[in-house]
C-alpha cells in the first residue's frame, strides 16, 4: 500500500481512504475469510437454483418449441399474455384466486391469533398442552392424506353426512357442489394450520414483560382489558410481519390441495390460476402460455408485497 506513486500536483495522497467501502470490505474479507467461504454454498444455491432458472422466463415471450430450445425459439412479444387476458376463463380464474386468498386472509389468518390468545388465558397447563398437540397435529399430515380424508368425510355416506342424516337433514354431496368448495377449502385450511400458526404468537406472548400486566392490574384492568391493551399490542409486530409475508403470496393459493379436491362440477368456484396452469402447462404441454400466466401471477404477488410493506411502514413494523 505504501508503494503508491506520489503525484506531481494536487494534494498529496497519504494513503487509502480508510472509510471507503472497498477498503472496509476488503479488510473484512481478509479478516473473516473462512466465514465468507462458508457463505459460498449459500450464494451458489441461490444463483443456481433460484436466479439461474429465471432465464427460462423468456419463454413467456416466445413460442417455445422443445426442438429449437430456449434460445432459438422465435420471439412473439406479449401474444401469450394477450391470449390469457382474452381467454374465456380469465375473469373466473382471477376471481377464484383472489377470493380464496381473501377468505384465507380474513378467516384463516386471524384464527391462529385467536387460538393463541385463548390458549394464553388457560390456567391448566396440562389442558393447554393437550389442546396445542391436538391442534397442531394436522400440520404434519401430508396434503394428499388430508385431501383423501376430506373426500371420505364429505362423501354422501361419509362421516359428516352421517351426522347430518342423524339429525334428520338431507344428505349433500359437498365436493360435488360448487357452492361448498370455498367453505370446505378454507375451513380445512384452518383445521390444518391453526395450531401450528399459533405457536409463533404464543412465543411472542411469552416475551411480553410481566411488569406490564402488573401495571395494568394495578390500574384495574380485567383479563379482557389486559388482553386488549397489553397482549395484542405486544404481539402486534409479529402479526404485521406475518401478514406482510402472507400478502406476498396472496395469488399463490394451495394448488396441490385444490387439484386433489376439485372436479369439473366445482370448477366454477375451485379453478384457480395455479390449477389452470397445471392443466395448460403440464397436461397440455403449452409451456410458453403457462410461463406467461405464471409470470403474470408473480408480478401481482410482488406488487402486493411492496404495497403491503409500504402500508405497514406507518405502524413501524415494516420488513425493509
Amino acid at each position: 500500500m505504501s508503494l503508491m506513486p506520489r503525484r506531481k500536483s494536487g494534494p498529496p495522497v497519504t494513503g487509502v481512504d480508510k472509510n471507503a467501502f472497498s477498503y472496509r470490505a476488503f479488510r473484512d474479507l481478509k479478516l473473516n475469510k473462512y466465514i465468507y467461504v462458508m457463505l459460498v454454498p449459500v450464494i451458489a444455491y441461490y444463483v443456481v437454483f433460484l436466479y439461474g432458472p429465471m432465464y427460462g422466463l423468456q419463454i413467456a415471450f416466445k413460442d417455445y418449441s422443445a426442438g429449437a430450445g430456449m434460445w432459438n425459439s422465435p420471439w412473439v412479444g406479449f401474444k401469450h399474455f394477450e391470449s390469457f387476458f382474452e381467454s374465456y376463463y380469465f375473469w373466473r380464474l382471477l376471481r377464484n384466486t383472489v377470493l380464496l386468498s381473501l377468505y384465507e386472509l380474513v378467516f384463516a389468518f386471524p384464527a391462529s391469533i385467536i387460538l393463541a390468545l385463548l390458549l394464553n388465558e388457560l390456567r391448566s397447563n396440562r389442558f393447554k398442552r393437550t389442546v396445542q398437540t391436538v391442534t397442531y397435529m394436522p400440520h404434519f399430515i401430508s396434503i394428499v392424506v388430508i385431501s383423501g380424508m376430506l373426500v371420505d368425510f364429505l362423501s354422501r355416506d361419509g362421516l359428516i353426512n352421517n351426522v347430518i342424516a342423524m339429525f334428520g337433514f338431507e344428505r349433500t354431496a359437498f365436493l360435488g357442489e360448487a357452492g361448498w368448495f370455498r367453505s370446505i377449502y378454507i375451513s380445512s385450511n384452518i383445521w390444518q394450520s391453526v395450531g401450528w400458526g399459533s405457536i409463533i404468537y404464543l412465543s411472542a406472548m411469552s416475551s411480553i414483560d410481566p411488569s406490564l400486566y402488573e401495571a395494568a392490574r394495578v390500574d384495574g384492568a380485567n383479563r379482557w382489558k389486559q388482553t386488549l391493551h397489553v397482549t395484542i399490542p405486544g404481539i402486534m409486530p409479529t402479526i404485521v410481519i406475518l401478514l406482510i409475508l402472507q400478502i406476498g403470496s396472496f395469488m399463490t393459493v394451495g394448488t396441490e390441495k385444490i387439484l386433489l379436491l376439485y372436479n369439473p362440477t366445482t370448477y366454477e368456484t375451485a379453478d384457480v390460476i395455479g390449477t389452470f396452469l397445471y392443466r395448460k402447462g403440464i397436461l397440455e404441454a403449452d409451456y410458453s402460455y403457462s410461463a406467461a400466466v405464471g409470470l403474470f401471477n408473480s408480478v401481482i404477488n410482488f406488487a402486493l408485497l411492496v404495497l403491503a410493506n409500504a402500508a405497514s411502514k406507518k405502524s413501524g413494523n415494516n420488513l425493509w
Binding site: 422443445a66 354431496a173 404441454a285
Partner: protein
Amino acid sequence: MGMNNWKTLSRTSVGIMITALLVVGCNTSSTAPEEPADGNAGTGAAEQTNEKAPEAAEEVGYPDEITYWVQLNANVAATMKDYGEIAAYKKVAELTGTKVTFQHPPVGQEKDQFNLMIASGELPDVIEYPWAAAPKGADSLIKEGRILRLNELIAEHAPNLTKILDENPDYRKMVTTDEGNIYVMPFIMGDPSLSVVHGPIVREDWLKKLGLEQPTTIAEWEAMLTAFRDGDPNGNGQKDEIPFLFNINDIDLDHLFVGAWGITQDFYQENGTVKYGPIQPEFKEYLATLAKWYKDGLIDPDFATTDGKLKDAKVTGNQLGAFTGYPGSSIGRYIDLMKENPEFSLVGPVYPALEEGGYAMGNYSYPFSGIGAAVSATADNPEQIVKWLDYKYSEEGHFLFNFGIEGESYTMVDGYPTYTDVILKNPDGLPITQAMAKYFTANWSGPFIQDKRYMEQYYQLDQQKQANQNWSQADHSKHLPPLTLTADESSKTASIMNDVKTYRDEMINRFIMGAEPIDNFDKFVSTIENMGIQEAIAARQAALERYNARK
C-alpha cells in the same frame, strides 16, 4: 502469505463447489453414452440365436444396453417392481444379451412425466407410450429431433415387422403419418374381436330378481333403473340402491346412451364429415334424458366425486345396479371378489338404441390406436434397437408376449397355445390378470401383435364372452381412424380444445345435476362456437381427408 493461502483455499472451495454442481447437474443426462456397438459381447450371442435374419441385418447385432421408458401397468405393479421382471422380457434378455433398464413414471403422473421428458430433451433410448395423447403430433416430434423416423430402419433391420406390414396394407396405412413417417414399432390388435373392450354392465341377479329382461333401448334402461331404485333388489329392506353410476370419461370411451342418438360426446365422423357431438341438437335430448334420470334418483348423486376405489366399494357393497367397465377388470374381477355371494352376477347388455332395432354406437378401437415404442433421436444405436424391438414381431416373440413361456404359462394343445393353471388358476391365488402380467403383456399392450387366442382364454366366464359379443353388435362406422394432425393444426387447436373440454365437462355435469337448466343449451353451444370449435373441427376434417387419401 495469508493472501496466498486464502487464494488457494478459495480456489479449491469454488472448484469443489463447481464440480459438485456439475456432477449434480449432469448425472441425469450422462448415463447413456456408450461406445458404438461393434464387436461387443451381445453380437455373438445374438447371431447364434437368430439365424433366420436376412443378410442386410447380419452386420447389426443386438444392443448391449437399452433404457426403456414405459408406463407401469397396474397388473405388473401389483406384484413386481418393473417390466424387467416379466418372464417374457427376461427371456428376451437371455436370447439377445441386451440389458434393458426400464424407467417407469410414478403411477398417475404418466402424462406429466412424458411431457416434461419430451420438453427437457433428456430421453431414454426407447419410449413406449399411447402417442395419440402426445401434445404435438408425431410428425412434429420427428422434426424437432425428439424421436426418429423409423421407415428406413424398419425396412432394413426389422424383417418381421416389415413382413407383417407388407401382408396387411391396412396396418401400414394406420401406422404411417400423413407425412409418410412411421414413428413407432406399433401395438396392433390382431383381430377385430379385440377392438371392443368396454361397455355397459348390469347386475344380472337383480334383473332376475325383478323379473326383467336385459334392456335394449333407452326406455327399457329407464324402466330397469327405476325398478332398481324401487324394487329393493339387494333385499336389505332399505332403499339404498344406486341404479346407475355415470362416468364422463367412460362415456367418452364407449358412447353409452349418447350413441343411441347417433352422436358422441367428442369428435366423430358421418360419411366422411367430422362433427363435434356436444354442439349437435341431439346432444340436448341426451342431456335432458340424463338430467331427468338424475332428478328421479336413477343416477348416483355422487358421480362427480366417485373414483375407482369408491366404485369398487359400491359394487361389492351390493349397492350399484349398472355402470360401465371392462370384461376383465370389471366383470371378471367383481365376480371374483364376490365369490362368497354365489348369486352375484354381472352381464354386459347390448348398447341401447332409441327404439327397438335402432341405431346404437359403441366402444371400438382401430387395430392401431397410437400405442407403440418410439426410438429417441438421441439413441446411439437405432439400428440395433430396432432390430431388438423387431424380435417381438417374430414367431417366437409373438408367442412370448402373448402366451409367455411354453411349458410354464402355456402348452400347445393341437396347435392351440393353451394357458396352464399357472395363469388360469394361479397357485399363489393371483387374479388372472396379475398372473398373466408375470409372464407377458398381452392383457394390456406393447410393441407386438396381440393374438385373439389370448382373449379367448382371458374371458373365462360366460358373462365375459357374452358381453364381448353383445357389445360388438353396435355400429362402428362413425368412429374416427387414428388421425395425425400437423404441428400447426395441433398447436392451434390444442388450446381451443383445452378450453372446450374444460367447459364441456363442467357443463355436462351441471346440466345433468340440474345446476344449469336444459333451456340454456343454446348458450352452451354458442359458447363452444365462440371458443373456436369450428377451427378444431376443420383441422380434424383435413386430417381425416388426408387419412382417407393415404394409400
